[in-house]
Symmetry: C2
Subunit: 460 residues, 2 copies
């Protein structure tokens, strides 16, 4: 049901007239997120600033069975924060206070609207480290990171957002406020509801505070880039690095198309005559960094790389790292619509998967750039297309279907870090199977019986 | 309902006559676990060896609403695998095959009855490392470790069992078999059911396979022991170590009573004139180990320790580590009943908590030895008593009530690694609150509508 006048008046009373948007021109900015080719106007947008407001709003929405979609900065890549028709978009971006940095317990307590970058910077200022670094970290909010269980470039060594969430305050659909988790490193009292909420994509409750785990800051870091004339050599180098028991903090891959686009865009001086580029970073104790860097260089040379370039200083390291950081933007310049996916496979199947993506692009006559997290098998095949070209868009869809099927066949998953949202919803049943889908639906229903939170997403 | 003749005949048909125990003298061994002062005869014991048998057994139990309690080696410390009256005890200890070690993806696939030690040894043989090391690891099974989310001595640096579970096969109460998780380092397709099952204490389903994450083996290790005349100095030393950004793999504490009992038992040559002993281990790259060991030694000396003893070789290191490993057995020699608890607080509150336990023991005139994981705030106050002395047992119960209240007041938890089971069941509602208890009950009900799995445990 759309928020009628009664509901609007209630919302205005709750958060103040100026914090409720209803004009179509105001709503447009909230009608999409970072996902290509998806748009839907909400009924209204409400800016909340306290847990109490959120609790009152949900109580009210639950009573009137009004759909609520929670949203931070809207950087999601699966349509997870896309409005449903006539829903209330509840924006938590203004809840942006860092509430505590606890050095003795190595924790940070934040509101959901704090940006990932701001958390990383605050940790650094305290001499500590918050590792998860999703691509959109400059503007993405921690509430969204937790709801999506965001990954990033450091997943192989440091894990993903889940591994850094020690606790959270959540508001359930009925307005009930509860704390999950605490500052204890170990806690086994009851099911881990915290872990159920991480990655639940705004369908089980609204996250109003997050308690994050911090770790000591690595003392040193070394960045290097290796280029390969054949993609298989790069894949072999990755296997050789892991076999040498080196777990680098970053082990990223760019294919020929991505290298070309990045070089056109950022003028880093990347060689254009190669089929694959690996960006590698090791961090930690200086002695470990030196040894691991030497080992990685040797693995790349043994696998027949064209060149290894080791950054001489921080400036050069940043420049090399920017080759990977700018991959998406660089690809996005080529065509009106950029569809970024995140099919993921076990590390051992990566070379097969990259070859498969190339073959599929050829089969459907599509332009694709593939980059991603080689160390953890998380690929981002990115189709360069135009959403106005219906016929080509259809081919893109067919290509993705085959790619997801292959990922599943290789023991992988349909989404490594972007979430299901709307974009992957139709692929989930095949991946999880009927029995598991039933369990997920039952769990959701037990927490949100009226289905007011993020309806139509994931598996609704 | 007790398993009547019809049910027994069905069970015998399912697993074979010789794999169903019903004689009272056979059932006695399965009437208790590692928890003091708790015993209950089951209706029968069934040894299962395949997922298919488990599925068939559960389908049947679900239809006839017969209680099923899953059990491995029975080393639990919260009564989690204690039979309920007339239940079927389903023992998975004979499902003890290691199915795969995958070096490329750093994983190991095992059946639930494999012992933790066997997993650790197999990882070592493959040049890899499985860090979780619960106290009972020599005989505890991985199925139980996962069901309880077992901790161990390496939690501070390496995390607990949850952090090493990448996937599992489970059988739901209705007999449905499903796979949760996979070999991908990143996977966000759907809620993390795997994480809901880890630590669910056998109440949601039966674990029939576990896919574990392995990591590279640390190259070096150093073990040392520091003694302090005052407990506060030991606590300060721990804080100083963390402040110096050293995260040791082991940072264990023994109080005066425990030191005395261990020395009487193991003759290690521990000084008896101290109030606190810290066992410290650092592992990793030799350069890191050398530096961290020096830093830890300095922190202890700066905090006024009596002595720091650094192990010269592996033999001495094992001897020192055995001081902590044998703490429970050493304390258990003193009195007929040893009640081991695991109240846990944020690291910063540890000194307060230790003092509180001492004061409570005095108040109730009880003998207590406290040891535990100082680095992660996980304490094991161990009351030395006699369950036949009802009056003293009552005082022990009163003491624990106060200890749990204080742990909660300090931001801690009622159980860090042993689980709720039967032992902590009465403390859970106060800790979690009504709303969260309701959510837990609803989740359980949605997975096990007839309540056949481990009834009466956790919050049933």
């Amino acid at each position: 049901m759309a928020p009628g006048e009664l509901i609007l008046s209630e919302l205005r009373q709750l958060v103040g007239l100026e914090n409720v948007l209803i004009k179509p021109e105001d709503l447009i900015s909230y009608s999409f997120d970072g996902t290509a080719a998806m748009q839907q106007l909400p009924g209204c947008v409400v800016f909340v600033t306290t847990t109490e407001q959120i609790s009152a709003l949900l109580k009210f929405a639950n009573k009137t069975k009004t759909a609520v979609v929670t949203r931070g900065s809207g950087t999601g890549l699966s349509g997870g924060s896309l409005p449903s028709k006539d829903c209330i978009v509840m924006c938590t971006a203004r809840m942006d206070k860092i509430l505590e940095v606890d050095r003795a317990n190595l924790t940070m307590l934040v509101e959901p609207g704090v940006t990932t970058l701001s958390i990383a910077d605050t940790a650094t200022a305290a001499g500590l480290f918050y590792p998860p670094d999703p691509g959109s970290m400059k503007i993405s909010t921690i509430g969204g990171n937790v709801a999506e269980n965001s990954g990033g470039l450091r997943g192989l060594k440091y894990g993903v957002t889940r591994n850094y969430v020690m606790g959270m305050e959540v508001v359930l659909p009925d307005g009930e406020v509860m704390w999950l988790g605490n500052k204890c490193v170990k806690d086994v009292a009851g099911y881990s509801l915290k872990d159920l909420f991480v990655g639940s994509e705004g369908t089980l409750g609204v996250i109003t505070k997050v308690l994050l785990r911090l770790i000591p800051k690595p003392q040193a870091k070394k960045t290097m880039v290796a280029t390969f004339s054949q993609m298989d050599q790069a894949a072999e180098a990755v296997s050789a690095i892991i076999a040498a028991q080196v777990i680098p903090c970053t082990l990223e891959f760019l294919d020929r198309m991505t290298i070309k686009c990045v070089e056109d865009f950022a003028k880093i001086g990347l060689p254009l005559d190669c089929e694959a580029l690996l960006l590698m970073e090791t961090d930690g104790h200086p002695a470990v960094v030196a040894e691991e860097a030497a080992q990685m260089e040797k693995c790349c040379r043994d696998c027949g790389c064209i060149e290894v370039r080791v950054a001489k200083d921080d400036a050069e390291a940043n420049k090399l790292a920017s080759a990977r950081r700018s991959a998406f933007s660089a690809l996005a310049r080529i065509s009106p619509t950029t569809i970024l996916e995140d099919a993921t496979v076990p590390r051992s199947e990566l070379a097969k998967m990259i070859r498969f993506v190339e073959a599929i692009a050829k089969k459907y006559n599509l332009k694709v750039g593939t980059f991603g997290h080689m160390g953890d098998g998380n690929l981002h095949p990115t189709f360069l297309t135009d959403e106005r070209n219906k016929e080509e868009m259809h081919r893109v869809e067919e290509a993705f279907k085959e790619i997801f099927d292959e990922a599943i066949r290789l023991g992988g998953t349909i989404t490594g870090e972007h979430g299901v949202g709307l974009a992957k919803k139709s692929f989930l049943p095949k991946f999880l199977g009927d029995a598991q889908m039933r369990v997920l639906r039952d769990l959701r229903k037990s927490l949100d019986p009226h289905g007011i939170l993020n309806p139509g997403k994931m598996f609704d």
